[in-house]
Symmetry: D2
Subunit: 416 residues, 4 copies
């Protein structure tokens, strides 16, 4: 009756590119063939590349972040068919464990070049930046952001089921509408990434016809949507359960973009501590759950195991819906959150950090971003709290001049 | 050497209207005379009306919510001068305690009529609603929302210092600009409440000249701003420290809008459990702190004492930047938060609650609203988590039909 | 339908001795008349003296601790009859709130003279000691133990139901047997306090016959027993539920010995922060619960609201079953706990505290005492953890000499 | 600058007995040669057998527990020399990670036969028992104790440094004295395990002379002592730091007896969920720390990451110093703890469990055992709290008959 070691449904081979291996894809589309199957109640491992498929190196330059090829991201592991799952069911995905590879005990936080797409503070930090994090047991430390150490709350940035053709069409339609509107008003903002044939990968067993369809129609993996996707929820860690709606027979579960740790908001787009690793799933099915739970977007239960800091150890900053130019916005939580982050950055610069270091840190460390109020016209209030206990010096506001420490430097572009 | 009972700096007399008593005001303006003074290090009580000055009754009709007179809100206690505080200093306000009055062991959550101003889901719930909460020791229960019980995390919705004339002018300018823009585009949205002479109250000792000035220029108390104000931060409870910038000599601390409990977002505008009560302060001053901490908006440290639910007891819902009509917005956390709330409401209706009851509950109960990701174009992901342990039945998603309970009703308009 | 202010079932008058007032008693006996009645589901306040009935002063001498008259302790409020409770039922006591009196915002920790009875470290600290604590909002601070501040987890040291005659007889028999054995072996230890006529108080309405019986037979209130009693459980605070067996009709609930805070073990006998105050109860009855739950001793559920420190903020010390003289005991958790406390005291002396100060602090602060192992012959391992965040200096073990602070002094006997 | 995969200082080969491999030992003695060395600041893995060296099988009979050979336990990995450590220093051992072997995703809880040595309730459960636990990701479940699931707080039961000859002599002297006393009084209790030549193993590189000395003098590994040892502290998990006194040059760190989870007290002697696995250390040295910290026994800091249950989710039972026969003991925490455990067991039998199942469960699940009071003569009060959230049914005491579930059976002796 003993349970043996559990099988690995999808394996990574770091010697070959992801696009030369079975078990990976980088678009959402119902015609991508399932790479593996699992039974309800069966535990299985899924190995994952980091989101870029290995484009970032453990070095002291941000050049690789600048040079990132984004047409082929995110590299996802899957799709995995779950036996018995049918449209209208809810797939319950228990995350039994997540670990980095022992052979790659490190990850990175990046800030992309502004031209590559928006990050929260791209007007303030337009150039590519990088910090490397070493996995020191359950903790992360960084030679690029010294005097900080915190345990990882490891989670997948992306977890989702395959859309039905109808849902996929709805996604494309609404995102195209937004995109077209911005083209029309001559906005320079990158507001959405629409289906695009460059860089598409849909596994090894796809037919040319299906591939052509996926390439043309496949939804990009950047945003979270009704099926899950790139939700970047930092608490979806070991022991969590995600409840995902099922849109196709077998569900088609895919996963990727693993994070060793992430702050709420993942504020620099390549935020979090990005890593390759192994995730262990056990799935079950709630028949007709979508209707019974009136489900439109996923639900989840975080796991019971987290790092705990006392509530009074979170130094917390406020932001309101007034932007850096003093302009008043209407209940804009995005602007308010930006303001809270900028306030925090200014505060921490007094200790000797560069703004770039704190921007990277906020993306990676277990900071809590709350919507405090969203009805007090014209200002929303959002807060961002950072745990004092992740620093090895005293960050509390006190009487008397702060003596800055030597904080070294994060990784910049080599040509700067 | 014994410390005696502490003094009450501002007292409430429920037999008279707030506007006939010293110690209260309802605008932010540097010319409002200080109602009391306190020394750094001295503990003192401040009594507070509820935000409306007593307009809401403990009954089963929402008529009083419909009839709320808003020109005279919020009724604040203050301003209190803190000896030695000067512009550029940081005022450290320790909240030593907050209690409801023993004679008024109840509070209320309201949804305003849509015409009175925006609440998060006013398109869904346009009419006035109300729920009364009884303070059952440290817990709140409601005859209008049965099967729920939770401890209060009592806090002031409003805590702020008096603005300087320059800061006041900046507020009015930027809010007027927003207001004018909306008038120009013929928006029907109430986007900001500008200074207005009706209903102004500035204490008993003000000169007619000063009063005229306050009436004309005084900033409304609705939004949070750089001085604190109506931030509605649910964790600013017993044992917390707020760090507020000082803009005028003596700081001019005012407080009001006490909440027995509030959910993140305070999503219905008269959300939270509104109450009258007593707050106990102890203040200190950090000289030149505004510059030394690069402070633009307040900072705070929550208190160490909170209700704790295991992380895996928060059933959590996701929202993305797609609105109820299926329209795609760009990284809009407000839209995403709305989606998460609607999803939660739909789920809980399966248990027999009305949408109105859950809307009121979300405003009042200790729900956690997080910004999960704000860079994954075009969707933000926000989450809202509700603790299972505040219900006396099992709320977890499970296989099998849910059997709805008899959930009674919240308070509606009598004419409906 | 509004709920009004709640009634006070038992009132304290500080102008008169407890023994001249209705509502108090200091022995456990079924013939003590009930001082008040309450209905199931009804909230009511009960006012309490401190355990000594006011013998200790807010001053800087331990003389009053030395002079404590112990024959009349503990001063309990009650007994309160709960309508409908019958032997065999379980009385569910919800502690809705506990507060100190606003007029007495202080408490004390004492170490009794060794002759008055055992405290954990009486061989090390044989003389009477005292520390006064000021209630600084939700926090306690002490002029006698500086650099420490922590929120109170207020609780009743004593909460119990009245014993039946049979249970009372069983108590007396088994405690007398222990007492007699120690007399026989000429032990000098005070091992039990048997019924004693001096100092007995049983309320104002008792008949002379009943009084004589109570005086002769009434169980002393020192130990915890099957009915609850002096359990000194530090987590039985606001929002807790105690499940007490009922032995007499009406249950006969009594309460006293309120503590603003206590460390696990209450290691100095007059440990904890002793105070007078008001407790608010709401009771319900589970019929036949004693049998259905196979209940022999009370059960309880702590409240949801506590101070939370991160687990890694507890500096923890170990003790084993080897005493100060190096003698090996067999799996003795008492000896092991003593060792852990002594180890902690020695450590903190390096920071400038006296052993007396830390002994008092351990009795009062929220320290956690765990039984780690109790089967590893011949040693038990017990641990005591103290939260770093209650100190305003860094207590962590680090490389480099500790620089002691000026720690002043606790209160000693004046004649010393 | 990249950090590579970390080395494994001691390896387990499951194909051979521990006693045929380098890197293991089962006595404490300064003459056992170091099996490996590590530098301060260097991370390294240490592989460990389960405490018995593999004597227990994943099956449904307790026969292997009955047949356990105890002369060769505990199988420890080590000793490991830490460069630069000298007597009087404090060795800071950071536990970076602990994992079961992927190839052995299971552990066991056993109750030894009473003749093999005391367990807390051996009078109630004298025969050998066993439960197998499967590691379901971060959770443990058992076919022998259904309806229970909880995350592991993995920790080493044993972690210690090598004693000096003087310390070793002191141990033997005091334990022999206890032993001899019990022989003298003709006690049948197994009170201590003295040095014994049978079963001794001291690694592969020891000289015959040294081996003879170790065999004769080596301290058994059963109890915790001043160097650490078998402390069985359930919170010494990932991210913890242990501060151990150094008695010999190089410290001589050894580790073993890994537990996937343990309840406070480890009440059945082979309690906890025993497992083989890999622990990752990083050590540093505080010079002269023993004197500077006045250290007599180890200190530690738990890690920041634990399962968290709300405080009000711990159903808690009390015990007093009265034994099962009604006999009164004097402030005996051991007796009180036993009473609390028996009370809990009786309560849970109502749900359909056998007493044996709960006895095993209490040893393995994250139960909290506190010393509530230890000065209230003649009774100590100890409490044991069990988290409701580890059960998949409602364990709370409520009105109405409990309907027992089918709870299957734990593993018994086959001949029963």
């Amino acid at each position: 009756m003993a349970i043996g070691p559990i099988r690995t449904a999808i394996k990574v081979d770091f010697e070959k590119p992801a696009t030369a291996q079975a078990g990976f894809h980088n678009r959402w589309h119902p015609d991508i063939p399932f790479a593996a199957w699992a039974k309800p109640g069966e535990a299985f491992h899924v190995e994952c590349f980091d989101w870029t498929g290995g484009q970032v190196k453990n070095d002291d330059s941000a050049d690789d972040i600048l040079d990132l090829k984004l047409d082929g991201v995110h590299v996802l592991s899957g799709p995995i068919g779950i036996e018995g799952a049918e449209p209208g069911d809810v797939l319950v995905v228990e995350i039994q464990d997540i670990q980095p590879f022992a052979s790659q005990p490190w990850g990175y936080t990046g800030v992309l070049d502004k031209a590559a797409g928006p990050s929260l503070l791209d007007n303030h930090f337009p150039d590519a930046l990088k910090a490397i994090w070493d996995f020191d047991g359950i903790f992360a430390t960084s030679r690029h952001i010294p005097h900080v150490k915190f345990p990882g709350l490891i989670h997948p940035g992306i977890l989702g089921t395959m859309p039905s053709p109808e849902l996929l069409a709805k996604w494309t339609e609404r995102e195209t509408e937004l995109y077209d509107h911005h083209v029309e008003i001559k906005s320079e903002l990158m507001v959405a990434r629409l289906p695009m044939e460059e860089g598409v990968y849909a596994g090894q067993s796809i037919t040319p016809e299906a591939f052509a369809k996926v390439a043309k129609e496949g939804a990009r993996t950047i945003p979270p949507r009704e099926h899950g996707g790139n939700a970047d929820i930092k608490n979806l860690s070991r022991g969590s359960k995600a409840y995902l709606p099922v849109f196709v027979k077998g569900a088609g579960l895919s996963v990727g973009d693993l994070h060793f740790s992430q702050g709420d908001g993942e504020i620099s787009f390549c935020g979090a501590i990005e890593m390759a690793g192994v995730i262990t799933f056990k799935c079950s099915i709630i028949k007709n759950g979508v209707k019974d739970f009136a489900m439109n977007t996923p639900m989840f239960l975080p796991g019971p195991v987290e790092a705990h800091y006392g509530p009074s150890r979170y130094l917390t900053f406020e932001g309101i819906s007034v932007d850096e130019d003093g302009k008043q916005h209407f209940l804009d939580a995005h602007v308010a959150f930006k303001g809270a982050c900028l306030q925090l950055i200014d505060y921490f610069k007094q200790f000797g950090y560069s703004g770039e270091q704190i921007y990277l840190l906020l993306s990676a460390a277990p900071v809590q971003a709350h919507i405090a109020s969203i009805v007090d016209i014209p200002n929303s209030c959002t807060t961002i709290g950072i745990p004092a206990d992740i620093f090895d010096f005293d960050i509390m506001p006190r009487e008397g001049k702060i003596v800055p420490l030597d904080m070294g430097s994060c990784a910049y572009l080599s040509k700067k």
